[in-house]
Symmetry: D2
Subunit: 133 residues, 4 copies
Amino acid sequence: MTPQALQDSIPAIFAPWIIAMGFEVADAGDDFVLLRMPVRPDYIHVGGVMCGQAAMAAADTAMVLALASKLGGFRPMTTVQLQTSFLRPISGSACTVRATVLRSGKSLAFGSIDIADEQGRLAVQATTTYALL
Amino acid sequence: MTPQALQDSIPAIFAPWIIAMGFEVADAGDDFVLLRMPVRPDYIHVGGVMCGQAAMAAADTAMVLALASKLGGFRPMTTVQLQTSFLRPISGSACTVRATVLRSGKSLAFGSIDIADEQGRLAVQATTTYALL
Amino acid sequence: MTPQALQDSIPAIFAPWIIAMGFEVADAGDDFVLLRMPVRPDYIHVGGVMCGQAAMAAADTAMVLALASKLGGFRPMTTVQLQTSFLRPISGSACTVRATVLRSGKSLAFGSIDIADEQGRLAVQATTTYALL
Amino acid sequence: MTPQALQDSIPAIFAPWIIAMGFEVADAGDDFVLLRMPVRPDYIHVGGVMCGQAAMAAADTAMVLALASKLGGFRPMTTVQLQTSFLRPISGSACTVRATVLRSGKSLAFGSIDIADEQGRLAVQATTTYALL
């Protein structure tokens, strides 16, 4: 799918709470998608950096889009598990979220998500399994 | 910490995006906290159930409060990793989030989070590691 | 399945490398199994405690048996993912491994494994997803 | 560290049970190590493929070596958590295990491990956190 087609699919797939996060599909290919994520003041916790909850939300969202791209269109699926590691804090006004499909089988798909800060440093790393319904 | 003290600490600790989720501290003890989480229409995705992103946000939030309760007050900490498994979909108007501190050492703390649906069935299970700063 | 039936199933299911670990089924029920695991000198690394690899091997093994008990007999299955947290080192001559089936659906099963040291303290905590074939 | 220096360090660091697995350090760099892992008949379970326990043992072992390479020598450390996803079964007589240090801080280090089968296909993917003591 093209970045624009993936962008256009967001309002039809995700919860309004996620749609409101304002992800922009910057790039996409057969087995990946790259999102630009605004780091909104609303995501900043007492420590002065982006809350981990926003990063996990971005990881899951990006993987759904990467799988849609891989499968040639959105298909009903459900997250089976998502493991996130927080390598360094994210500050600045935006970050990038790159989701890659590692393997997509008949009923299960596996992926990896890297979130980089504005300086391009890996800040959050996630791996995930989805069940295709 | 008492449930009320933990409830009162929410606005000072979390990002506005999380505060707006409206968690209610229903119970708390030395090493656990139980939250009531409203399942808002904004969290519902195309599949008709609560999005996984909201569940992960709840798990992380509950564990911060459980650690605050364990430590006798909020202390700077950062999530090292959080692994979430999605056992069944959540519908209804609310769910409960129970976070338990499994071990709290000098620099690392480990916890487990169970999210149950309105029927009391385990729907989401998470485990997590925090670094105490 | 009874503890004895589960014990008897070990040589037919597992790799010789795992069979040689000498797990003993101490208890079992509809959705759990409790193993006694000898902490052999061969498992001790330079730090003087049981290596994490042995703990992960035990967790996976125990969950296969718990699922067999749940399903009323061994059924082809494959581990989809297994996440292990290491809460405290294990020394002594034995530990116990308790695997619990959290949910068993048509194609996926979820479980949790607790490994306790000889003093009964939680030392290793794992969660896992299996695909039933 | 050179591949040979890492190879030579294996007997001093790991448990005899792990040393006996016969890992060969095929390559190494500042933040990675590549191991060749013999797939021994002892690792094959009833399904006819390598057991997941052997893969997890390899992942953990490789990461310790990658961290030793990164730090310029082995240093006391402990696995905090290790999450493994099993993407496809491993058969054949050997596989390769590549561990990469994603970030190494003062007290915590993060890594990623890819295990590929003899055809070079990604079969097992793991992520992990270590505490440097």
